[in-house]
């Protein structure tokens, strides 16, 4: 599944787009004629399922800013098979109707469904895979509650507080799926953290600075590793070409060499001296660089194949980190936490670095670096033009269920409702490279969608139905 297209997002003109989108939701204009699009037959649905449904939706929010009016959606084989006004319903299909249909929410910073030990492990390496620590048997009731609240998928991370957390995975929260079916993307991001007080109280400023240098050092070792591989392959080709030519010449002169040698042998025998062979020299074969899974993972991040999510909070480290990673041009950086990110907002906008905010209720037991983080942080960053993502913080598994409420209170403290909805759907999907399956309501995509009785994230709206990989997992009754 090659999905490593490094896209470049045109920096959206914040105010204009938000206004247009807001209008289209509230004012509900006649809306463009929704063209009926059906999925190509050979599309391989994410998870094969025999169930099929027809949804009659008053309004479909395809993506933030694009709304279609009274449309029918055919869900079959785990994905959205057809979407349009005149989708005909196969005989005997179960029909559902609802006021608003939108993409399921995604928690890009979750701890739900991961073995607790791996979550707290501080000795993880770049090559450690969170996909190995998915616990399909545990926390089933928490995952059902999360589905009922509208959160259908999450990015989970082993070593959440470790300096290097390893490769995080995106999983579906449907507890009835097997581990293989639940994994949307086993290697979604590479996670690191800088300047956290990991259980031992706050670090002093020099250690924190040391951690920024360590991030840059890691990325450099990844680049060097990939560079060595390329150079080795180049040198090997050169060497093999040279050896082939050399061998051809040796083959050619073999008869002559054999004659000379026989002469030499006879002469040595004559003078009763020991015959000395001719000294053969050839240039050494280039050494194959030894395989190192950690450096390979770092190389993928340094080359932008894996987004790099770094949890960092203080202004000093933010500045230093942005300066340190300036040189790595294909790096796709995402900053998590970023409590004091307002101070570096311009650099973030200019380098299109998105910020993953965990709206926190400022717990009294919060660690030193979280002090000062309040519900208004997301709103202030968004006003400054930074692309904001919303996560539940990845420390306890039960927070993922309440991500929509946390997003709502972020909206109550200054974040545009439109931006919050984007952050929970296509924004998260794009930053985790799963935009080809999740994040919008489009034909061909996996059917992870919600049916609501009002606009998303409003206090009066409740979730009626939830589809996960085409399976109906939540109905108003259960």
């Amino acid at each position: 599944m090659s999905r490593r297209s490094t896209f470049n997002r045109v920096a959206p003109n914040r105010v204009a787009l938000a206004a247009l989108a807001a209008l289209s939701i509230i004012a509900a204009p006649a809306g463009a004629e929704p063209a009926t699009r059906t999925a190509p037959d050979d599309g391989d649905p994410a998870a094969e399922s025999s169930e099929q449904y027809l949804i009659n939706a008053g309004r479909v929010i395809v993506r933030p800013g694009e709304v279609l009016e009274n449309v029918r959606i055919l869900v079959r084989g785990g994905s959205i098979a057809a979407l349009g006004r005149d989708v005909e319903a196969p005989e005997g299909i179960e029909e559902i109707s609802g006021a608003v249909v939108c993409a399921g929410f995604i928690d890009p910073w979750s701890a739900l469904g991961v073995d607790a030990g791996s979550l707290r492990d501080q000795r993880t390496e770049p090559a450690t895979r969170t996909a190995d620590a998915i616990d399909v048997h545990g926390q089933r009731h928490l995952r059902r509650e999360a589905l009922r609240a509208g959160v259908v998928a999450a990015r989970v991370q082993a070593g959440g507080l470790a300096r290097v957390g390893g490769v995080g995975a995106v999983v579906r929260l449907n507890p009835d799926l097997s581990a293989a079916e639940a994994l949307v993307l086993p290697d979604a991001v590479l996670a690191m953290s800088v300047g956290l007080s990991r259980g031992g109280g706050a670090m002093d400023v020099f250690d924190r600075q040391g951690e920024v240098d360590r991030v840059r050092g890691a990325l450099d070792s990844g680049l060097a590793y990939r560079q060595n591989e390329v150079e080795y392959r180049y040198d090997l080709e050169e060497w093999e070409k040279a050896m082939a030519e050399k061998e051809a010449d040796l083959e050619k002169d073999f008869k002559k060499a054999k004659k000379d040698r026989d002469k030499g042998l006879a002469k040595a025998e004559e003078d009763d001296k020991e015959f000395k062979e001719k000294k053969y020299k050839e240039d050494k074969k280039p050494r194959k660089p030894s395989f190192d899974s950690n450096k390979a993972a770092l190389a993928r991040a340094a080359h932008g194949e894996l987004p790099l999510v770094v949890q960092v909070h203080r202004a000093a480290e933010l500045r230093e980190l942005l300066k340190a990673t300036a040189g790595v041009d294909r790096l796709r950086l995402v900053l998590a936490g970023a409590t004091e990110a307002e101070s570096v907002a311009e650099t973030l906008v200019e380098r299109r670095v998105s910020v993953l905010v965990a709206p926190s209720l400022a717990r009294s037991d919060a660690r030193d670096e979280w002090a000062g983080a309040d519900l208004g942080l997301a709103g202030r960053l968004e006003q400054a033009g930074v692309e904001v993502l919303l996560g539940s913080g990845g420390e306890t598994p039960d927070l993922t269920r309440d991500l929509p409420l946390l997003a709502a209170s972020a909206v109550g403290h200054g974040l545009e409702r439109e931006a919050a909805f984007e952050a929970l759907t296509i924004g998260a999907a794009r930053s985790l490279d799963v935009a080809d399956q999740l994040g919008t309501v489009e034909v061909g995509k996996s059917a992870d969608i919600l049916v609501l009785d009002g606009a998303p994230l409003l206090g009066t709206t409740s979730v009626q139905y939830v589809f996960s990989a085409g399976r109906l997992v939540v109905t108003p009754q259960n």
Partner: protein, 364 residues
């Protein structure tokens, strides 16, 4: 957005509290929430000094009084039934297990820095309750989040029947010992305990797990006390017994990630008609758990009207000060909060807060 009919904007910026708006003024809001849960379209509140003069849609604005138009919701101030802000740690005397005659009001520090965060969340009054760790730490007090008004110095008598109230090296060390000592205090019939025994002073009984709630309800029934159970997350599963004993419940805040069972317990309290309110776990930095807790319950099916009542009318009644605060009604203190949307909807924000008729947060 806000039509300013008078030059109110020239008033001092919101951050400086206690700026008087003007002696008599009126606020008209698109949605005005009354005590009984009904919503008045385009209702008007007339404020005279520090009390509410009149509430209604047909109220006439006297000449010369300022009129503020507000396109949004208007409610009375929210009430937190347990709060340590302003007391800064002196709220429990650890030398004695029973502090007869203790008054939490004396620990109140008006203008304490931590109170500001309460205003941002629309909380205008709070109950100073002791932290756990003693059998009885005296009487709680009801104070305002701004200014130095003490609504009541002797609101409820604190009694500790939870595992946190019993220390292992101080008498009593067990539930049976605690019940014996409390019975002795009640039968002594003087001071606060006498007033509680005669039913004059409501009690606040700390209980955490369900068997502690059961024990507290039996104790209250046996001695015919009145008051509230404080802190038990699953008290709702004993809603019938609590209702039978005429008690109400002061519930822990429900922060994000709270178990669904503890949220459903609140819903069963509402079904059984037991009045309940919320307290804040710790100082101001937790002020936003009040609305989050209520939003969690609304998502599980609690009606927004009941939810709002638990933050206003019911809370005032539990604290025994419902004739002073907790409702938009003539004669009550002029504690008003202007919202952009329905207060239990997290997406709505606080536009302005008035306490005793003074603008203390935001601008009109």
């Amino acid at each position: 957005m806000l039509i300013l009919s008078l030059a109110l904007a020239s008033l001092a910026p919101a951050s400086k509290p206690l700026a008087p708006v003007s002696e008599v003024f009126a606020i008209r809001a698109e949605q005005l929430h009354l005590a009984d849960g009904t919503v008045l379209e385009n209702g008007l509140v007339l404020v005279d000094g520090d009390t509410i003069a009149a509430v209604g849609s047909g109220v006439s604005v006297p000449a010369g009084a300022a009129l503020v138009e507000h396109a949004g919701h208007l409610t009375t101030g929210l009430i937190a039934l347990g709060e340590h802000a302003g007391g800064s740690g002196e709220l429990r005397d650890s030398t004695r297990t029973v502090l007869a005659g203790g008054r939490l009001a004396h620990a109140f520090a008006p203008g304490h820095s931590q109170l500001e965060a309460l205003l941002a969340e629309g909380i205008t009054s709070l109950v100073l309750a002791p932290s756990a760790g003693s059998l009885s730490a005296g009487c709680t007090a009801v104070v305002k989040s701004a200014g130095d008004t003490v609504v009541s110095e002797r609101a409820q008598l604190h009694i500790g029947l939870s595992s946190a109230s019993l220390l292992s090296n101080r008498r009593p060390t067990s539930y049976s010992g605690a019940l014996r000592d409390l019975e002795a205090l009640l039968s002594s019939a003087h001071g606060d305990f006498g007033a509680a025994a005669r039913g004059e002073l409501p009690v606040l009984i700390e209980a955490r797990s369900r068997h502690e709630v059961q024990r507290a309800v039996a104790f209250v029934a046996e001695h015919k006390l009145r008051g509230a159970i404080s802190g038990a997350p699953l008290a709702g599963e004993l809603a019938a017994d609590i209702a039978a004993a005429g008690l109400s419940v002061i519930s822990d805040p429900r922060s994000p990630g709270a178990s669904q069972r503890s949220i459903d317990a609140l819903l069963s309290l509402a079904e059984a008609g037991v009045p309940f309110g919320f307290k804040l776990a710790s100082p101001a930095r937790h002020a936003n758990t009040l609305r989050m807790g209520v939003a969690l319950c609304v998502r599980r099916g609690l009606s927004p009207a009941t939810a709002l009542r638990s933050l206003t009318v019911d809370a005032a009644r539990i604290a025994g000060v419902d004739e002073r605060i907790g409702a938009l009604a003539t004669g009550r203190d002029a504690d008003l909060v202007l919202w952009s949307g329905h207060p239990t909807d997290l997406t709505s924000s606080v536009k302005a807060v008035l306490i005793d008729g003074q603008l203390v947060y935001g601008e009109l």
